[in-house]
Each structure stands twice: as structure tokens, then as C-alpha cells.
């Protein structure tokens, strides 16, 4: 495409008063030979936009640079359809709002941003959306319990062909066997009849294709084109589906490990599910019952986490006893009652019914004449306590996700190259062979675990999203939860699946780069089969052939650019994001000579958190160091080390990477991007030192979106430290 470039400089919002706009126009027209450069006092207004539209229609402009506000605002105003490239130079939030007006340094900064924007659009092309042949919009739900049935029903009701796979011969799962269920509707105080029969009927009526006694032998492909092989009754069936909801549930924690609570020792110490069966069968005669909460849960020796449903379930079971005999004595021993959200009403109801709740640790359970006695530390009384003559003791024995059962996949033996170079190694995610999806993915056959075997990703920012695009976990396989949350999860995951097939059909990325139509392209003839991209892709998007050639799956891709940053041969690029593009932006920045005493600091800032934080610093009119030049990156994981070379060679005095927090409570939108960038940095520090460049000149920091107020100090401190190091010795080799 022949580019016809037009630059529009907005002089509104104080830009015109603070900057020499003619000089900016000169940069565009004279230095960069833009075809058109116009200024407007109110570019985002109706007239301003009309000017641009007119040039597009009548002058053949197809590449637009808007120099004004941040790209984070007015995106819709400056959207001129799929055939026009739009690039924004942020003169407002990152120039005039955080630097003094009428100032030489501020002007230089603004001019550099114009240069960078022009170079950037020169180096990019319109993305061409990836189209799947034989695309399927079918949603497959794995697991026919409460969550799975609900998800299947939601998806079918939304108008999508839905397939449900259940390993048992009957739908219903764990909840299906219950006597009654916890309330799912207001006022959240009453036992409800089991909803499973109704749900099964609704699912059948909604036309969901149900496979019972079925397991998944293989899942190949990716979103929009998963090819699933289902084993059923000795035969196999193939289904092509667009997205998958994993709702395989959990299993009760193995009570045989709870001998300290009398399980296995006394016949009348039973598990929650055994009690459920007993009541359902009408065999529950006990007049004095104790429930022991956190039996195994919240216990470093057993399950370190809270199983989240057992409190509410015990409250329900306590009410069974009271329902049968209001005079019965029912005690619940607990650490904390975690009846989340609406279930607080249910808890209160049980108290009103006369269930006695005791906050305390059970210290001993003994038996005489078939009756049980419990000793405990009563925490609210600060005393030891005892109670006896119990007919039954029920252990609330918590849950383990079905995804946690199976052999853990060990990291492959180190490749010689990496081992020999003694380089820090990226540790891949843990995958447990739970035999549920049997994915044909290079990184392993199941979903990576987040913690304790739960295949979640970022549980706050991206609920239901696993680390495999198009596969969404819901219910207790994702995280421990009660029924109300599971119901919400089912609907949420089903809608995510719907979003995914729709986005895939358009060739667009899903969250967090929703709408992005670019995808990585591989220049295969220079590939050295180093496997870096196939290992580091956080979403397992890239498979490998036998010769270790990468086989990209564009529909699995989230467009983070991690592979592009990883590739030592720099053969991976996107239509609108590439190693040369950023490299050329670095080179376009004017670095004054040493004598001018105007140092330059390059900042690579993550678009997800650091960029908004920088904008917010501007919005709050916080002033910061004028030597700074900021380049946004999709994720720090896309950082290619050659950019550091470029910056050093160009004479920059320092480079700062601003990315998201990593580690256990990571905030990186692509799991490990900032961590990967730091690992990569550590690899070049030695090289820098060898070149006589202090490795302290290049460093990484983490910025949370709320850290905007710390940004000025962050930049000033770095500038001071650079000052101590003195100017970059490469400056004079320019």
C-alpha cells in the first residue's frame, strides 16, 4: 500500500500555548516529508474530525498521525475505519501536562514524539485478519455437574450449538447426589430442592448435544478450530468446536488422611458426602451431631487453602438435622465461618434455628459406648471445652480440583546450549497430566496450574481465563467456591467462550488486546530451531514439528509479542509491531552531543499499566524529568535486546523498563512478561560491562497503575544516578 501521510497537530487543551507548533509542523513536513500537515484548535471536535475525513476522502490520505492527546482517550473519535492507519503522538498527557510551557527542553521532547510517531507509522502496515477455514462456533462444555450444566444451558440459550461431555453415565455430578441444596435465590435462607433434575431437563430441551460415559482422548487445534476426539462406549466421535468451558469440578479431600479427627477410627465420624448420602437415603437418625469445619483445609499439613464451600454446606447439613428434629443439638466447630456474600443470611438462619457455632480448634475426639465426645479450644471463651454424647461427627473435608490429579510434567532436560551458557532459565508453568483435555500443545497436555492444582490465570483481572486461549475454567475446578459463585462462574465462562468464537471469526484477539487483528508472522528461513518462542509463549500458542520448527497457531495467540522479544534471530514480527519498528523509533530520537549537557533516558513502558500510570501523572500535572523519551510496548515480554543495543549505540545515557509486578501476586497481563524481560536483561549485563558501559545504565522497574504519583521520583532518581555515571561514552562515536 502506497502511504499518503497526513499529520494533524491539535493546538487545543493548551498545546498551542505551550509549544512552538510551526516548528513541529516543520519536523513533519521538512524532516519527514509528510504529505500534509495541518493544525486545528479543536481536533476532536466535529469540525476537526471533518477536516481529517475530508482529506481521507478527497486527498487520498490513508495514514494519519494525530498529535494531541493520549491514545488512551478519543480512540473512537479518531477511528477512520479499517483501511486507514492511525498513529497518535501524545503531546498532551506526556508533554505539556508534565513539563513546563515555552521551554526549550519541552519543545525538543514534543518534536521527538512527532518523529517517533512518523517513524512508527512508516514501519507498520494494516493488519490482515487471520481467517480460519471451517471455523466452528460450537461451545464444548467438559463436565456435566452443576457448573457444567449451567454453562451449557447459558451457551445454548445464547444461541450457540453446545456440546456437553460427561465421564459418568449420568449427568448431575456431585450436586446431583445431594438431598437438598443451599439456596440460590433470595432471601437466601431456605433449603432448596435439588435443582439438577430441572437443569438436566432444561439442557436437553435447549438442544445441547450430550455425551455421557465419555472422555476426551485428544484436543487439537485452537480457538475456532479445536478438533476434539471423544471416546464413548469404546468408539470415538470427532467434534470441531470453537471454544471450551472446563467444568470438571473437584473431589472431596481424602478423609483417610484425617485420622487425627477420628476418621477411620470411629464408625460415626463421617465425611460431608457420606452424611449427604445418609440423609438422602433417609437413614439419618442422629439427635446430637457435630460438624467439624476445615477438616484438612487451611492446614499446611493437608490443603493450605480454604475450600470455600464446606462452611455453607455444613450450615445446610446442620439445617437438615434441625429440619428433621427442631430439638436436636447441633454444634459446628469452626475456624472462621466463611459464608460469603448472600450466604451470610443462610448462616444467620442456622443460628436462629438454634445451631450452636463454636469458634475453636478440635483437640481430641474420643468414643465411649458408641457415642463421641469432642474436646476443643474455645477461642471466643479463651478456654478449653468439651461436649459429649454425639451420635455423629461430620467432617467438612474440603475439596481438591480434578485438575490436580495426575503426574506432574517435569521440565525437559536442559538444552545443552542454555546449560552451557549458564544463562538464567525461564521456568515454564506446571502442568499436571489430569487426562481431561489431552491437548495437542507443545507445552503440555492440560491447562497450566496457577496454584494448588487450580488451572486459573489472573483471578482478579481475568476471571475464567486459563493460560490457554479459548479454554475457560468455571466452578470448583477453577477455584474453591460455593454454588452461587459456581453459577456465576458458569455464566461468565460461557460468555467468555462466546466472545472468543466471535472474535476469532473476525480474526481479532481476545482480552486483553481485544480487537487487535495483527498476529505474529515467522520468517522461517532464518529460524535456528532454538525453541525459545515455543517455550516462552505464555499461552502455548506455538507448537513444534519433529525438527523443532515453530508451528504458530494464530487463533491461540493473544498478541503479546513475547515470542518476538524472545527470538534471537528476530524473525518474528507483526504487521503493526516489530523489532525494526521500535528500533527505528529509538534511532529517530535526537540525542544531543555531550557538550550540550542534555542527557537522554529511554523508557520502554508496558501499555497495560505503566502507560496509563504515565498518563495519570500528566493528568495530575506532576512534573518529571525532561530528558525522558517514552516508547510504549505491548508487554515487556516483547522487549528484544537489540533495542538496548540500538539505544546505547545512539548515545542514550540510560534505559529504563517499566513493567508490571511479577512473582506470586503478579499483575502482568501476559503472565510473565516483565519477569522475562528482567531475565533477558541479566543476560546482557556482562556484555555491557565488557563494552565499557556500566550495566547500571539499563534497569527494570515495576509500576502499578496506581503508582503514578511515584513516577516523577522514580525518573529523577534514575537521572541522578546516571549523572553520577557520567555521559554514555558512545555519544561521541555517533
Amino acid at each position: 500500500m502506497e502511504k499518503k501521510i497526513a499529520v494533524y497537530i491539535c493546538t487545543g487543551c493548551g498545546i498551542g500555548d505551550a509549544l512552538d507548533v510551526d516548528a513541529l509542523s516543520n519536523v513533519a513536513l521538512k524532516e519527514y516529508k509528510a504529505d500534509i500537515c495541518k493544525t486545528d484548535a479543536f481536533l476532536c471536535g466535529k469540525d476537526g474530525v471533518a477536516v481529517i475525513k475530508n482529506d481521507i476522502e478527497n486527498e487520498g490520505v490513508n495514514t494519519v498521525v494525530v498529535a494531541g492527546c493520549s491514545s488512551r482517550v478519543n480512540a473512537d473519535v479518531f477511528n477512520f475505519g479499517p483501511n486507514v492507519i492511525v498513529e497518535r503522538a501524545n503531546l498532551r498527557e506526556q508533554v505539556i501536562w508534565c513539563h513546563p510551557a515555552d521551554d526549550e527542553d519541552t519543545q525538543m521532547l514534543a518534536e521527538d514524539y512527532i518523529r517517533m510517531a512518523l517513524v512508527k507509522q512508516k514501519n507498520m502496515n494494516l493488519p490482515e485478519p487471520y481467517q480460519v477455514e471451517n471455523l466452528s462456533k460450537t461451545i464444548m462444555v467438559v463436565g456435566g455437574g452443576f457448573t457444567g450444566l449451567t454453562a451449557a444451558l447459558e451457551s445454548a440459550k445464547a444461541g450457540y450449538r453446545t456440546v456437553l461431555v460427561e465421564k459418568e453415565d449420568k449427568l448431575g455430578g456431585y450436586v446431583g447426589k445431594m438431598y437438598k441444596q443451599v439456596p440460590l435465590k433470595p432471601p437466601f435462607t431456605d433449603l432448596e430442592e435439588n435443582c439438577i433434575p430441572g437443569l438436566v431437563k432444561a439442557v436437553e430441551e435447549a438442544g445441547v448435544k450430550v455425551y455421557t460415559s465419555a472422555t476426551i482422548a485428544k484436543t487439537a487445534g485452537g480457538p475456532g478450530m479445536f478438533d476434539v476426539t471423544i471416546n464413548q462406549n469404546g468408539g470415538t466421535v470427532e467434534e470441531r468446536v470453537g471454544a471450551i468451558v472446563l467444568a470438571t469440578g473437584a473431589r472431596p479431600y481424602d478423609a483417610s488422611k484425617l485420622a487425627h479427627l477420628g476418621f477411620g477410627q470411629y464408625e460415626n465420624v463421617i465425611t460431608q458426602s457420606a452424611f449427604e448420602e445418609m440423609v438422602a437415603a433417609g437413614n439419618m437418625e442422629a439427635g446430637k451431631v457435630a460438624f467439624i469445619q476445615c477438616a484438612g483445609s487451611r492446614d499446611q499439613e493437608h490443603l493450605p487453602y480454604c475450600s470455600a464451600a464446606c462452611c455453607v454446606e455444613s450450615i445446610k447439613q446442620a439445617l437438615y438435622v434441625k429440619e428433621k428434629n427442631p430439638e436436636a443439638n447441633v454444634y459446628v466447630y469452626y475456624k472462621d465461618i466463611r459464608s460469603n456474600g448472600q450466604y451470610e443470611h443462610f448462616y444467620k438462619k442456622a443460628q436462629q434455628a438454634g445451631v450452636i457455632f463454636i469458634k475453636g480448634d478440635v483437640t481430641a475426639i474420643t468414643e465411649s459406648d458408641g457415642q463421641l465426645a469432642i474436646e476443643a479450644d474455645d477461642k471466643t471463651m479463651g478456654t478449653t471445652s468439651e461436649a459429649d454424647e454425639f451420635d455423629l461427627v461430620v467432617l467438612a473435608n474440603g475439596m481438591v480440583p480434578t485438575a490436580a490429579f495426575g503426574e506432574m510434567i517435569e521440565e525437559e532436560a536442559e538444552e545443552e546450549a542454555a546449560a552451557a551458557a549458564d544463562e538464567p532459565k525461564v521456568v515454564g508453568p506446571t502442568i499436571i497430566k489430569s487426562n481431561m483435555l489431552n491437548l495437542e500443545y507443545r507445552q503440555g497436555p492440560e491447562l497450566p496450574e496457577l496454584k494448588y492444582g487450580f488451572p486459573d490465570s489472573h483471578y482478579i483481572c481475568f476471571p475464567y481465563e486459563t493460560r490457554r486461549t479459548g479454554i475457560y475454567a468455571a466452578g470448583v475446578v477453577r477455584a474453591p467456591m460455593d454454588m452461587l459463585s459456581a453459577m456465576e462462574d458458569a455464566a461468565g465462562a460461557a460468555l467468555k467462550a462466546v466472545q472468543c468464537v466471535e472474535a476469532t471469526a473476525k480474526g481479532e484477539a481476545v482480552h486483553p488486546r481485544s480487537g487487535d487483528m495483527s498476529f505474529p508472522e515467522f520468517n522461517m528461513n532464518r529460524c535456528t530451531q532454538c525453541k525459545r518462542c515455543t517455550e516462552e509463549c505464555p499461552f502455548g500458542a506455538i507448537n513444534e514439528d519433529e525438527k523443532a520448527n515453530p508451528l504458530p497457531n494464530p487463533t491461540r495467540c493473544r498478541r503479546c509479542g513475547t515470542c518476538m522479544g524472545a527470538c534471537p534471530e528476530r524473525i518474528i514480527s507483526f504487521k503493526n509491531y516489530s523489532v525494526p519498528m521500535i528500533g527505528n523509533m529509538v534511532k529517530a530520537i535526537e540525542v544531543p552531543e555531550e557538550l550540550d549537557e542534555k542527557p537522554r533516558i529511554l523508557v520502554f513502558a508496558c501499555e497495560n499499566d505503566a502507560m496509563p500510570a504515565l498518563d495519570m501523572a500528566g493528568i495530575n500535572r506532576l512534573q518529571y524529568n525532561p530528558w525522558v523519551r517514552i516508547i510504549p510496548v505491548r508487554c515487556l515480554g516483547s522487549l528484544n535486546l537489540v533495542w538496548i543495543n540500538d539505544a546505547m549505540a545512539k548515545g542514550f545515557d540510560g534505559v529504563l523498563l517499566m513493567g508490571c509486578k511479577h512473582g506470586d501476586d503478579y499483575q502482568c497481563h501476559f503472565m510473565k512478561g516483565s519477569e522475562l524481560a528482567e531475565i533477558r536483561l541479566s543476560k546482557i549485563s556482562e556484555t555491557l560491562n565488557r563494552l565499557g558501559l556500566e550495566s547500571e545504565r539499563v534497569r527494570a522497574t515495576t509500576v502499578n497503575i496506581m503508582d503514578y504519583d511515584k513516577i516523577p521520583a522514580m525518573l529523577d532518581e534514575f537521572a541522578e544516578e546516571l549523572e553520577e555515571l557520567g555521559p554514555n561514552p558512545m555519544k561521541d562515536f555517533q
Binding site: N329, Y331, I337, Y347, K348, Q351, Q352, G354, I356, F357, I358, K359, E375, D378, T380, M381, G382, T383, T384, S385, E386, A387, D388
Partner: protein, 195 residues
């Protein structure tokens, strides 16, 4: 509280009795959060905070509960009642506990005497008269208390001087006869309800 090592045994008999009082069943829904304790104006001089008292009830500690000064120190400021996340009307519960303590012969606190004196005034006259309440109060409490009162006599004299302590009682309620009938009937109904 219970510092010896002997474990206490839960006994629900007493709890059930208290739960059956007019506002007693609300105690069941206490979740031991402690909001009442930190809200209470007189918590520091209470034997047990309301929260602890409710817990003792659950444990079946009848003597501890009924001998406690907790309900008697309650000033009905309603702070806990307004704040309790479980909607326990603590002030009303305290009324029940006071009544129950008096009825069961646990009425050693000066407040109990004051309460009784106040009630006698109301029952006899339909209105209260501070002079009357105080007089009856000292009759119940005995002479020791009068000595203590003498310490306060400057306060009383000051009030007299400013016309705040009329020496003559107000007129009785005219319909006193009817009021008494109403009260008697109410007492009868109350007894029936309790059963």
C-alpha cells in the same frame, strides 16, 4: 475468664431459657464479631462485654451471666444496637436480662434498686417524680447509700437552687385506675405468652 484448666462443658438448658425471653431469640444470631464491645460506652467497667455475655449464655454459665454487671451498666445509648451487623437489638435484650435477673433473685446491683424504685413510682402515680424515685431508691438500698449520696449533696443543692428539684410531686395521672387495669391485663397476657 475461665483460667483453670478444667474444660467447660456446653449446657444448652440455660441458653434455651434465655432464648425464650421476649427478645432472647435474637441472641442466637450473634456472630461474636465484637462490634458491640468496642461500641459500648461502659465496656471498661463491665464484667463481660455484651459479646462475651452472649457467649456465656451459649456455654450455659447461669451464675456468671446473672451475676454480671453488664446489663446493669448498659446506659441504653443504643450504639451497639445501631451498629450490630446481625441486627441484635442489644438494648432490648439487656432489658430482658435485667428483668430475668431480678425475677431470679440476682438483684444486688444499685441499678436494680433504682429500677424497682422507678417502676414503683410509675405504677403508683403514672408519672415519675425524681424526688420520689430517689426516696424509694434509698429505702431499698439502705443507709450506706445515703452516705454516698451526701458526697453528692452539693450537686443536689445546686439543682435545688436552680429550681431543678421540685419538692412536690406532679399530679397523678387522672385515669390512673384505668392505667392500672391496663397494666394488670398486660401482665396477665405477658405471663400467658411466656408459656
Amino acid at each position: 475468664m475461665e483460667q483453670n484448666n478444667k474444660p467447660v462443658k456446653y449446657d444448652l438448658t440455660f441458653a434455651r431459657e434465655i432464648y425464650s425471653l421476649e427478645n432472647g431469640s435474637y441472641i442466637k444470631q450473634c456472630m461474636q464479631c465484637g462490634m458491640c464491645a468496642i461500641s459500648c460506652a461502659t465496656r471498661e467497667i463491665m464484667d463481660y462485654s455484651p459479646r462475651q455475655l452472649f457467649n456465656l449464655i451459649k456455654l450455659g454459665k447461669k451464675d456468671e451471666v446473672l451475676q454480671a454487671n453488664t446489663m446493669w451498666h448498659c446506659t441504653s445509648c443504643c450504639t451497639c444496637k445501631a451498629r450490630c451487623p446481625r441486627g441484635v437489638p442489644l438494648v432490648d435484650v439487656m432489658h430482658d436480662l435485667k428483668k430475668y435477673a431480678i425475677e431470679n433473685g440476682y438483684a444486688d446491683y444499685p441499678q436494680a434498686a433504682f429500677y424497682k424504685a422507678f417502676w414503683s413510682e410509675v405504677a403508683g402515680r403514672g408519672k415519675v417524680f425524681e424526688g420520689g424515685v430517689t426516696g424509694r431508691y434509698y429505702l431499698i438500698r439502705g443507709l450506706d447509700e445515703v452516705k454516698k449520696a451526701m458526697d453528692m449533696k452539693d450537686v443536689g443543692i445546686n439543682m435545688l437552687k436552680h429550681g431543678r428539684l421540685p419538692l412536690l410531686p406532679p399530679k397523678k395521672v387522672k385515669g390512673m385506675g384505668n392505667l392500672k387495669k391496663i397494666i394488670r391485663k398486660a401482665q396477665e397476657l405477658q405471663r400467658k405468652e411466656a408459656r
